[in-house]
């Protein structure tokens, strides 16, 4: 569904993505992991068109997306920190997004009700806690039934109940053949959700393997430990 070919991006002298080539297909949940500053968010933002790559190609369903904009109607994006006009009420934010996307297809309001956002609709965004904002961001990402979900540390600020709802939702959408790209630092969560892990270090794809493949090579049963072993192998080999 998405093909990334030889993507390069540097900010000034700092090369953030070095010749990254990846492809993802529908019905997958792929976790992007890596240390802070390894280029995960830059990669995500390149797909969204928020960051303009220096070289390389990104295509969605065979269509080149660089410089395009229509393709974004197929993406639901949940940013790491979602911030909205402070004076707007939650209801107005939802209405605005519906208006901006002029979506005609049916909306997916499951997360709104699971998060109990209906009762908060009249609250202003400026008065919300970080976690509630995250809930709004998540509900917005899922609202338009896109084919591709891009979630940047989705559960970082959420309470355990809301996290569970979100994870269930991700798996449910996976069953409906959508593709989800998720970044996370929480290995147990990655283990629960992801089929495949893309491990980035300093802008280079160190490995791109299924969870089973990662566990097999190391003899560990927990993903976190297996990854740690692999990383040591990668670093000191």
């Amino acid at each position: 569904m998405i093909r990334i070919e030889n993507l390069e991006k540097s900010f000034g002298k700092l090369a953030v993505l070095k010749n990254v080539s990846l492809s993802f297909s529908a019905g997958e949940v792929v976790a992007l992991i890596g240390p802070n500053g390894s280029g995960k968010t830059t990669l995500i933002k390149s797909i969204l068109g928020l960051v303009i790559p220096d070289a390389g190609k990104i295509s969605l369903d065979g269509q080149n997306v660089l410089q395009g904009w229509e393709y974004r109607s197929q993406i639901g994006y949940m940013p790491q920190i979602g911030r909205y006009p402070e004076q707007m009420k939650i209801r107005q934010v939802f209405e605005m997004m519906k208006d901006l996307r002029s979506s005609t297809s049916q909306l997916d309001e499951e997360l709104i009700s699971n998060f109990g956002l209906e009762n908060l609709m009249e609250k202003r965004m400026g008065t919300l806690s970080g976690g509630t904002r995250q809930k709004v961001s998540a509900a917005l990402a899922f609202l338009f039934k896109p084919k591709l979900y891009i979630l940047d540390e989705p559960t970082a600020g959420l309470d355990p109940v809301a996290s569970e709802h979100l994870k269930n939702k991700i798996l449910k959408q996976k069953a409906q053949r959508s593709l989800t790209l998720v970044t996370s630092h929480n290995m147990s969560e990655v283990e629960e959700l992801a089929d495949r892990i893309v491990f980035l270090v300093d802008g280079v794809v160190k490995f791109n393997l299924s969870i089973a493949e990662i566990l097999n090579g190391t003899g560990e049963s927990r993903l976190g430990k297996a990854l740690a072993k692999r990383m040591e192998g990668e670093v000191y080999a």
Binding site: L48, G49, L50, I52, I75, I81, Q87, M88, L100
Partner: protein, 255 residues
């Protein structure tokens, strides 16, 4: 773009700063009319206020607004909307709101006390300066991701146009006083939108005849239809160049 515009206006009009700006302008203008003699002196005082306050407010509020909307802009950029339309929507939304504040704060007192050609020119110049300095504010903001640097650049621009420029012109005039300077000075005026606005309004006043030889030349030039057209063309150029430049930067900017 119209949709973006709608939400920006909605956001800006609710901010206390724009309401405060309207009230301040209204209070200053009505105060001047109420206390003043009601002749051209009042208009000159109003002109000074407009030339000082409008550019400062537009450029400062413009940069603050841009940096405060960065997350909102990022949110919009992840939606199926063209980048240029996002920035244009932000720009028009902000400048139209500020222009509306000016039209209410300045226009209502003018309507109440002293409606004539000169004060309408004053209002028009104020509106154009709003659009110009909001565009400059956006240029300063899109060029730098660092808020402090952006606001600093914006303030420097204001300082240059409002204060430094006059000094530079005076310095040129005194250093080259042995040469005929009327034509170069006409051209120099075009390099500063605030100056263009000042000349446009001053020449509508009777007192401009007292400005000596240069004043007479100005009157001859700017009093004519061609001179007025020249000023407005340059004012529009002053608005378009920073706007187009910032659109160009914005379309390649990384968020």
């Amino acid at each position: 773009m119209r949709k973006v515009l709608k939400y920006v206006i909605y956001d800006v009009l609710r901010s206390k700063m724009v309401i405060g700006y309207t009230v301040l302008l209204f209070a200053l203008c009505s105060g001047l009319y109420y206390l003043g003699s009601g002749d051209s002196k009042t208009t000159v005082s109003l002109l000074h206020i407009v030339l000082l306050v409008v550019p400062l407010m537009s450029i400062v509020f413009g940069t603050i607004h841009y940096y405060n909307s960065r997350e909102f802009i990022e949110l919009l950029m992840a939606q199926p909307i063209r980048r240029r339309r996002i920035l244009l929507g932000e720009y028009l939304g902000l400048s139209c709101s500020l222009a509306a504040a000016l039209i209410i704060g300045l226009g209502v007192p003018i309507l109440m006390w002293d409606i004539n050609e000169t004060s309408l020119y004053l209002l028009l110049v104020g509106v154009m300066l709003t659009f110009i300095f909001t565009a400059l504010a956006f240029l300063a903001s899109v060029r730098s991701s660092d808020k402090a640097k952006g606001i600093g650049t914006a303030l420097l621009m204001w300082f240059y146009f409002s204060i430094l420029y006059d000094g530079i012109v005076l310095w040129i005039l005194s250093s080259f006083s042995d040469y005929p300077l009327e034509k170069p000075v006409l051209f120099l005026t075009a390099l500063n939108p605030i100056d263009l606005g000042r000349v446009l309004v001053l020449l509508k006043l009777d007192t401009s005849a007292l400005m000596g030889y240069t004043g007479a030349l100005y009157q001859k030039f700017f009093g004519s239809g061609a001179g007025i057209a020249y000023s407005f063309v340059f004012l529009i150029v002053w608005m378009l160049i920073p706007l187009l430049w910032s659109l160009k930067i914005f379309s390649k900017k990384d968020m």
